[in-house]
């Protein structure tokens, strides 16, 4: 919020004045109010493996993160470029594979990757869109300086928090929204529905029937699935509600079976179709891949998109962006060592205390090592795992992440954050101004995942 000279940074100027006039005890009460709102609304998530905490709240911080219109424009251009490149990349590797033939990416990295689905080879999804919804994880290291941490191209979650955080802030501090001109995020569900309807199969007549596929009420993100279905005004379905009949995917309704045109699935590829993928999956719909390949349903995001957000592929993103857009990537990649390469592995093992080491296929902040905050013992143990299966890991330097203020009982304190803006792709690319800001609540920590004790805050993009 403040510059080195202790002045508020320009986008925070109005907020800072307002904050200075507030009474701390009042803000402590507001923090409690926010928690009550979240609990009442049932905005919860589940942490797997914690029997006693079936439904948990994600801590919410009442100080918004504020981004200027100028900074946002720059960021949005970079994101759009990257998302278009991701779609072009997916189209290429499932068709002509020019990027491999051009020698820019090793063939085995694609074809031996578990996220690569041979079933998708030669198939063009409706509208040519692979990643209908993308959540790009970004960190800021300084003025106008952003790095992309991850391109979540499978089923990015968290957008319900972006919306509920805003809703909560408007309910608690309405006056802040008259003092500041904040760009709207509330249109997201409407835009999502439009975007999904826009890529309905070509044979679909009339208004496309859209549904959200959830693994069920015990899934950690169930709240979000029901929230999105509700806000879009579409059915929320589970695998057991659906059946393939006469070449269509149909749901069991009170009036009989009815066909679905677009399925926004929040179930992983592996579980989507037991006839094609994991035979034991009870979450999927037997035969849906045949319907898909026959062009009678749109699946969003398309199966096989996981190859694009694989952490090993990530290190090639600068090449990928340049290859498909013909321009240098506007957003920087974090330098990444691929441990599968002997020279990189050697470097990583020698510098383990300075690096963040992640599993190639991992997510949710599990199975990673943050060298600078790990104990000597943890580093040694991790080095053994790393040496045993080097191809399973990548390593990155810890960035000098910028911090934002959070509210603590004594006032404000700095914490590290990241940002996940949400991008919708149909015949055009739409980026919602803002996104989900995740906060590492522990002082000095760099891990923002909610499963690891991270929190969230509202994210404002100001109007000019």
């Amino acid at each position: 919020m403040l510059t080195a000279e202790n002045h508020p940074r320009p986008p925070y100027k109005t907020y800072h004045e307002w904050y200075a006039a507030q009474d701390t005890a009042h803000l402590i009460r507001k923090t409690q109010d926010a928690e009550n709102i979240f609990r009442r609304t049932g905005i919860t998530f589940a942490v797997y493996g914690h029997a006693d905490s079936a439904e948990k709240l994600i801590p919410f911080d009442i100080i918004p993160r504020i981004i200027s219109a100028r900074e946002w424009r720059k960021l949005a251009q970079g994101i759009e470029q990257r998302v278009l490149a991701l779609n072009a990349f997916l189209d290429d590797i499932y068709h002509k594979q020019e990027i491999i033939r051009a020698g820019r990416i090793p063939r085995e990295l694609i074809e031996r990757n578990i996220a690569f689905l041979p079933e998708m080879i030669g198939f063009k999804p409706p509208g040519g869109v692979y990643t209908h919804i993308v959540g790009t994880d970004i960190v800021r290291t300084g003025e106008d300086q952003f790095y992309v941490l991850e391109d979540n191209a499978r089923t990015p979650s968290g957008v319900s928090y972006m919306l509920e955080n805003r809703e909560t802030m408007m309910q608690m501090f309405p006056e802040l929204f008259t003092l500041n001109k904040v760009q709207r995020v509330e249109d997201y569900p409407r835009l999502l529905r439009q975007s999904l309807a826009c890529v309905a199969p070509p044979g679909c007549k009339g208004r496309p029937r859209v549904a959200v596929l959830t693994p069920g009420i015990y899934n950690s993100a169930y709240y979000e699935h029901s929230f999105l279905a509700d806000q879009m005004g579409v059915e929320l379905v589970e695998g057991s509600d659906l059946r393939v009949i006469d070449g269509r995917v149909k749901m069991r309704t009170t009036g009989g079976y009815e066909a679905i045109d677009v399925l926004y699935r929040r179930v992983d590829d592996d579980f989507l179709d037991p006839l094609t993928f994991r035979p034991e999956s009870a979450l999927g719909i037997p035969g849906i891949m045949d319907v898909y390949r026959a062009g009678n349903i749109t699946i969003a995001n398309a199966p096989g998109t996981g190859i694009a957000d694989d952490k090993a592929i990530y290190s090639y993103m600068p090449e990928i962006v340049e290859f498909y857009t013909g321009r240098k990537a506007l957003l920087e990649n974090v330098p990444t060592w691929r441990c599968s390469e002997p020279a990189s592995l050697k470097y990583v093992l020698e510098h383990i205390e300075e690096l963040v080491i992640k599993e190639v296929h991992g997510s949710g902040g599990y199975g990673m090592l943050v060298g600078p905050t790990a104990t000597k013992k943890e580093c040694e143990d991790f080095a053994l795992k790393l040496a045993a299966r080097p191809h399973n890991y990548i390593a990155q330097p810890t960035l000098a992440l910028s911090t934002v203020p959070i509210f603590v009982n004594k006032g404000v304190a700095p914490r590290h954050v990241d940002l996940r803006p949400y991008v919708l792709v149909s015949d055009k690319v739409k980026i919602i101004p803002g996104g989900l800001t995740r906060v590492a609540l522990k002082q000095g920590s760099l891990v923002v995942n909610s499963s690891q004790g991270g929190g969230t805050k509202d994210t404002w993009v100001l109007e000019d």
């Binding site: 609304t41 929320l236 009170t254």
Partner: protein, 313 residues
Amino acid sequence: MLGRTANGLYWMFRYIERAENIARLVDAGLRVALTRAGSSDEDWHGVLESAGVREEYGQVHADMTAANAVDYLLRDTANPSSVMSCIEYGRNNARMVRTALTRETWEATNEAWIDLKARLSRPLRAADLPDLIDVIKRRCGLIRGAFHGSMLRNEIYNFSRIGTFIERADNTSRILDVKYYVLLPSISQVGSALDNFQWESILRSVSAHRSYGWVYDTEYQAANIADFLILKVQMPRSLAYCYEKIVSNLGYLEADYGERHKAHETAAAIKATLKRGSITDIMDQGLHEFLQDFISRNNQLSADISDGYRFYQ
């Protein structure tokens, strides 16, 4: 709408209704214990029976005490019909059909669950019971109010309402059936002091001890009580009222779907029985037999609705 969603709505509202009715039963039981000289813990047998859990109670508790009975009815999760279990199932169903509910209805349900879970998680003290029962009724009332004030009048509304009234009809008929013998015509026609207590307790368990006086003489009479709870359409917990509502909600569904099912016939037939009947005829034919028959036809209707509208879990 998914058959699973319709089923979820139907059961959500059955459970919420049951939670409230169990609270009323306990309230009536406590009242008897307070006001009647010579009342004993044995009186709780009848309450447990009205709640349909007398046998199950015996499997958990060896002896009958007021404290155990109240605990079993309000907070024991081993009892599938305890208030805590009902609220838990009701809320789980609500969570499953979250997209079919308005935010107000969902929040009222979720808050009821949060509040009652906290209150019912610790052993109950006798002194807290009146307040607790009040809170349960109020919470259920808030869910109902949010539902009425905010839901679209469409199939979602109709399935929810049908669940409410099938459950309510079942509860009222069971309350009557457990005490049917105290309503049988006695020689004197004027109740003894004991009868008066029993009768008031019946009325109290359907929150009708005041409204009775508006419709009939203030003097309790067995036939009038039976009439009030079975045939009086103005009485919102009577069987006749429940069937007015069920038939009209099924009628909306019929218009919506352009389709008539066996359930429509079953409901119409039950309604006709209630409309034609006079309380004298019912008493003459046998109140107990009448109620047993009603309970089984009410269950049949539930099954017919489930078939006709393709419910599944």
